[in-house]
């Protein structure tokens, strides 16, 4: 009898659990069936009338029934809670396509961007970054670079002189002269010299009275033209892309001998010739050469023991080619619509 009653109660309770649609209802089921005053407890109270044989059996059954009901209630409770949370979240849905809250961020000027990129490349090859004054003595700007006062390539009209002896530097080469002097005839020297330089030019789309250069100098035993070529090949590929080639053409600078002009293959036409490269397939990007023995000797290096190469890069020219900027004045106008374009890392 008691056995039937227990199974009946289990059946009844499970039906109610299944039917419960709210936590409160479910709780009522728990209290009414599993509570101290519930029907199962009541059944167990009548166990005294049973035989010693039957007693444990009924006891065990009663426990099973309790557990079955409790576990179902728990299961149901979780389901109801989940449903309740889901219902609440459904009301909290937002439009994820609305724009995010802007975080203020700025970026480097394109010229500094180019300079830092080149600095990092050469630092990786064992160079240090040397800097020097923008107002220079005639000696370091010209004379120490094999440009004596009577030299035809020197013209007062091309430089901003302050007095007869000092001027706004016309290139960053004086930094090379100063650095060489500091080394007191001892190699190796491996430097790049970035900085602002000044020339008496009227500002227009391709000229600027102020611009930036990066010059490089290596002095050691057995430095050769092929080392310059290899170094500039690394430079061209890093700055302009792995598929670029370089070409050296003979040229003339007072501080190098032999001197070369360096072209890179035109990216736009792939070397076939176009308006950007003036139909040649090549674009002139920099000049360089083997350091003139007079320059080495003037700085205290034995030109029989040491040789060196030097090169000079126009930063604006690189930036214009790299980013397609068509007017050099943009770099100095600082229109924020221009400045903001140079923000992300390129592969």
């Amino acid at each position: 009898m008691m056995q039937e009653r227990l199974l009946e109660l289990q059946e009844e309770a499970l039906q109610k659990v299944a039917a419960a649609s709210e936590l409160k209802e479910l709780n009522e089921v728990r209290v009414s069936y599993l509570g101290k005053k519930g029907p199962i407890t009541e059944v167990l109270r009548g166990m005294g009338k049973l035989s010693a044989e039957e007693r444990p059996k009924i006891g065990a059954l009663a426990n099973d029934v309790r557990e079955a009901i409790a576990s179902k209630i728990e299961e149901k409770q979780k389901a109801l809670e989940t449903a309740a949370v889901n219902a609440k979240l459904a009301t909290e849905t937002i439009d994820v396509t609305l724009p995010g809250r802007p975080v203020n961020k700025g970026n480097l000027h394109p010229l500094t961007r180019v300079v830092e990129e080149i600095e990092d490349l050469f630092i990786g090859m064992g160079y240090t970054v040397a800097e020097g004054p923008e107002v220079e003595s005639d000696y370091y700007n010209f004379e120490a670079l094999n440009l004596p006062k009577s030299h035809p390539a020197r013209d007062m009209q091309d430089s901003f002189y302050i007095t007869d002896e000092i001027l706004m530097r016309t290139h960053t080469s004086p930094v090379q002269a100063r650095t060489m002097e500091k080394h007191k005839g001892q190699g190796p020297v491996k430097i790049i010299c970035p900085g602002k330089v000044y020339r008496r030019d009227n500002d227009d789309a391709t000229h600027s009275h102020q611009f930036q250069q990066i010059e490089g100098l290596v002095i050691d035993e057995n430095i050769s033209m092929s080392d310059l070529k290899g170094t500039l090949d690394v430079f061209a590929k890093k700055v302009f892309g792995q598929d670029r080639e370089i070409r050296l053409r003979p040229s003339f600078f007072p501080f190098t001998e032999p001197s070369v002009e360096v072209d890179i293959s035109c990216k736009i036409c792939g070397g076939k010739g176009c308006s950007v490269c003036k139909q040649t397939g090549w674009i002139e990007v920099l000049g360089g050469g083997i350091v003139h023995p007079n320059v080495l000797e003037m700085a205290g290096f034995d030109s029989k023991k040491y040789s060196g190469f030097a090169f000079g890069i126009g930063v604006e020219r690189i930036a214009m080619l790299k980013y397609g900027v068509d007017d050099i004045r943009h770099f100095y106008t600082n229109d924020v619509r221009f400045l903001k374009q140079f923000h992300h890392h390129e592969a």
Partner: protein, 804 residues
């Protein structure tokens, strides 16, 4: 230098190589060919015509009606407006269907009722620049020599179908300022011979030295002077081929004598001058420095005042030419000249440069003397001129010369080893490869084992040292054949200096804070140079500025940044945050060079935060700008060493400006631009700062030392203090920190109230104080003790009362 492809073939065989290929080879081996031009490109239908009849146009005073034989079946009628057209002339006729420069097509036309079947052309109409057209034809049509064949291609006759290479010569390659010089270069590139003009002059029995003598008083300036005399010349036009060659090289034809001297200048690179012997004024040529204030009227009819820095040719009495620059009007060769003196001389570059510069007379001749002519060609150039004058202007060449020759010319002899060449170039050239290069250059070569002894001809004055020979070897070997390697040698650490790293960190921090980097000019106006300057020191002015706007070196960056703000504001770009890092320049007494300091400056204006669809906008204020520089000081590890002091600075808002101090030294300022200045500049409310980056980067920074993460809880106590409005929050904070002792770890401000519920002249500042001890949990007693100290101190030192 313009080089005619056809003319060049007089000196070097160019078979099998066209002008474009030649240009490419020349460029690759060292002289940049900047262009190859064929003037007749796109032109057609211009023939030689013979003017059979000319009469006045019946309906127009200024027009001529001409009947012209153009080599066709019938002559054609052409209406021509040129004042110099006449019967019997040979002229260039653009026939119907012809195309002239500018894609101008010639059609049959009716002019004032008369048919015109073509056009008789001036040289300008055929594409010649006006400055190249002989003065005889400057305002009319060009008249060809009488023997020109009718019907022939006029463009061809005028040398327009020739191709002209434009050489961009670097200053060291003045040897290529002549056709012969270019021939040597091309000969070396192609491995072909150079053919010189053959000179066989028939000379009269009369001696030149009986007609003229030469005396040089300035031998350093003029070690070689040769005069030749040619009698009985007939001045007239030079042959057409010579005129066209001159024009292709950019020289205007005049008459046969002058044209020949110019032709030799182009052929040999040796400038010559012709004097009218009968107008010379004496029988002696004296070369000397000019006397002070001596005067000469030059060929261009300008009177020029000379100084002892100028070299002159005189007749013993007065100057007849400025040496190497320009002749005098008094001895000019004119149409009636019959006897001439040809001068061929070596003038020093410096003295010619001085005169050409002082008188603003730069010419083909002066340019060549300035760069140095080949001493070996001076004599021959004079002989060649005599030859051509006799041939094309008639006349008799007198025997010999009158001359002074004290020119010693030792060709440079340089030794170099094969190893040196290969080491400097990184190549593996063989002895025979190098030897062949020097031989192609027609240098003297002696070879001993692997050492070359090279004798350099005087035409290559640019070659004086080993490195110059290395360059010759490199360019003719071909740079494309040089391998690409990287330097091998002692390893060197590549790294930035501490300063450079800090500068980069400053850039990163400011970008992270939302500022864009600007780069502006260092040169500015006198007025702006010192505005907002951190230090009142003298600024530096250029000796010869190009404009007042760029005449002075800046003492501060801010004025330039404000210009950038103005530029952008004028384009409705109102929200801006910019910084710049750059040098400012101060004059230093007793020092040659100025003091250069790197500064870091910023300008911020407009909205700082704006999130429009959520309705949030926050304009820039002082504290935004201050937050930016605080972040910078934090990155540089200097936050503890920085303090601010209310300050009054010119052109800054008097109540919203602070000096920035590093320890006790002022290293910058921050604040709002004075509203009147903002108004003058037409910019919106703008906050700026300028700091000495040098001071910041050079300041000592404590090393980073790990501090134990506290294991014991901290306790926070908040206090609201009522103080006078003028009391500075920073001062109270300092008092709190000092009084709080070592248990007080953090002080922060969480509220500021200055509203109407406060007593007049008072404000309330609320501080949050955090106490803890890394060794133990603090007791209430400990904290109260420290906190009471704080309260007592602020009361005593700042008159602060706890807000009730």
């Amino acid at each position: 230098m313009f080089v005619s492809y056809k003319w060049l073939q007089d000196y070097v065989d160019l078979s099998g190589i066209n002008a474009t290929e030649l240009a490419d080879k020349i460029t690759k081996s060292g002289i940049e060919v900047e262009g190859v031009e064929k003037k007749s490109e796109g032109l057609k239908g211009v023939v030689i015509g013979h003017v059979l009849e000319r009469e006045q146009h019946p309906n127009a005073d200024k027009l001529n009606k001409c009947l012209v034989d153009i080599g066709a079946e019938n002559p054609v009628q052409i209406i021509c407006g040129a004042p110099n057209v006449d019967k019997g002339q040979k002229v260039a006729v653009a026939t119907v269907g012809a195309v002239l420069p500018g894609n101008f097509k010639i059609k049959k036309a009716k002019l004032r009722g008369e048919e015109s079947h073509g056009m008789i052309c001036s040289l300008q109409e055929l594409g010649f620049e006006s400055k190249l057209v002989s003065k005889d034809y400057a305002t009319g049509i060009f008249v060809f020599p009488n023997d020109t064949e009718v019907g022939k291609d006029a463009l061809e006759e005028l040398g327009l179908s020739d191709e002209v290479l434009e050489l961009g010569l670097t200053p060291n390659r003045s040897d290529a300022l002549s056709m012969l010089g270019v021939a040597y270069e091309v000969g070396a590139i192609l491995g072909r011979e150079v053919k010189w003009p053959v000179i066989e002059n028939e000379e009269a029995a009369e001696k030149a030295s009986d007609y003229i003598s030469v005396k040089v008083e300035a031998k350093a300036d003029n070690p070689l002077y040769i005069a030749k005399i040619i009698k009985d010349v007939k001045v007239g036009p030079s042959p057409l081929w010579m005129q066209t060659r001159l024009m292709s090289a950019g020289i205007r034809p005049h008459n046969n004598v002058v044209d020949i001297t110019n032709y030799i200048l182009l052929e040999y690179g040796q400038p010559l001058h012709a004097f009218d012997y009968d107008r010379f004024g004496s029988k002696e040529i004296v070369i000397r420095r000019a006397k002070d204030a001596e005067k000469i009227v030059t060929l261009d009819e300008a009177e020029r005042t000379l100084t002892p820095e100028h070299l002159v040719i005189t007749n013993g009495n007065e100057p007849v030419a400025i040496a190497g620059v320009m002749g005098g009007a008094n001895s000019e060769v004119k149409n009636d000249t019959t006897n001439i003196i040809i001068e061929s001389a070596y003038f020093a570059g410096t003295v010619v440069r001085k005169a050409s510069k002082d008188h603003g007379l730069r010419s083909e001749a002066s340019a060549r003397f300035e760069k140095g002519v080949d001493p070996a060609r001076v004599r021959e150039a004079g002989e060649r001129a005599a030859q051509l004058i006799a041939q094309y202007a008639g006349g008799t060449i007198l025997q010999g010369t009158a001359e002074v020759d004290e020119l010693t010319m030792e060709p440079a002899v340089i030794s170099i080893t094969l190893e040196k060449i290969n080491t400097l170039l990184g190549t593996g050239m063989t002895v025979s490869e190098v030897e062949s290069i020097f031989k192609r250059l027609q240098f003297g070569v002696e070879l001993d084992n692997e050492t070359f002894t090279i004798t350099v001809p005087t035409r290559r004055g640019d070659i004086t040292i080993e490195a110059d020979l290395v360059e010759e070897a490199a360019r003719l070997y071909g740079y494309d054949n040089i391998p690409a390697t990287l330097p091998i040698g002692s390893a060197t650490p590549g790294q930035l200096t501490d300063y450079q790293i800090k500068r980069r960190k400053a850039r990163r921090t400011l970008e992270g804070a939302g500022l864009y980097q600007a780069v502006t000019y260092s040169l500015t106006s006198q007025e702006k140079a010192a505005q907002f300057a951190l230090e009142t020191r003298e600024s530096i002015r250029l000796a010869m500025p190009m404009s007042e706007e760029r005449s002075q070196l800046r003492l501060s960056i801010v004025p330039q940044l404000l210009e950038v703000v103005k530029y952008n504001n004028a384009r409705q770009l109102d929200s801006l945050a910019l910084y710049e890092i750059g040098s400012v320049f101060f004059k230093q007494d007793g020092q040659e060079l100025p003091e250069e300091k790197e500064h870091i400056a910023g300008a911020i204006t407009g909205l700082w935060e704006s999130h429009l669809w959520q309705g949030e906008k926050k304009p820039v204020d002082f504290y935004v700008a201050k937050g930016v520089i605080e972040a910078l000081f934090d990155t540089l590890g200097l936050a503890d060493q920085i303090s601010y002091r209310q300050a009054e600075i010119n052109d800054m808002h008097p109540g919203r400006t602070a000096e920035v101090l590093l320890n006790s030294e002022v290293i910058g300022f921050i604040g709002q631009v004075h509203p009147t200045v903002q108004k003058d500049l037409d910019i919106k409310e703008t906050y700026i700062f300028e700091l000495s980056l040098k001071a910041l980067a050079e300041a000592e920074v404590a090393p980073i030392a790990y501090e134990t993460i506290p294991r014991y809880p901290s306790t926070t106590r908040d206090i609201a203090l009522v103080v006078d409005k003028a009391t500075k929050a920073g001062d109270i904070q300092s008092i709190i920190i000092e009084a709080g002792g070592k248990l007080l770890k953090e002080v922060g401000i969480f509220d500021l109230y200055e509203g109407e519920r406060m007593e007049q002249g008072k404000k309330s500042i609320a501080y949050s104080l955090k106490y803890f001890d890394p060794e133990r949990t603090l007791t209430d007693e400990d904290i109260t003790k420290a906190h009471d100290n704080v309260l007592a101190a602020v009361k005593e030192k700042a008159g602060a009362e706890l807000r009730g």
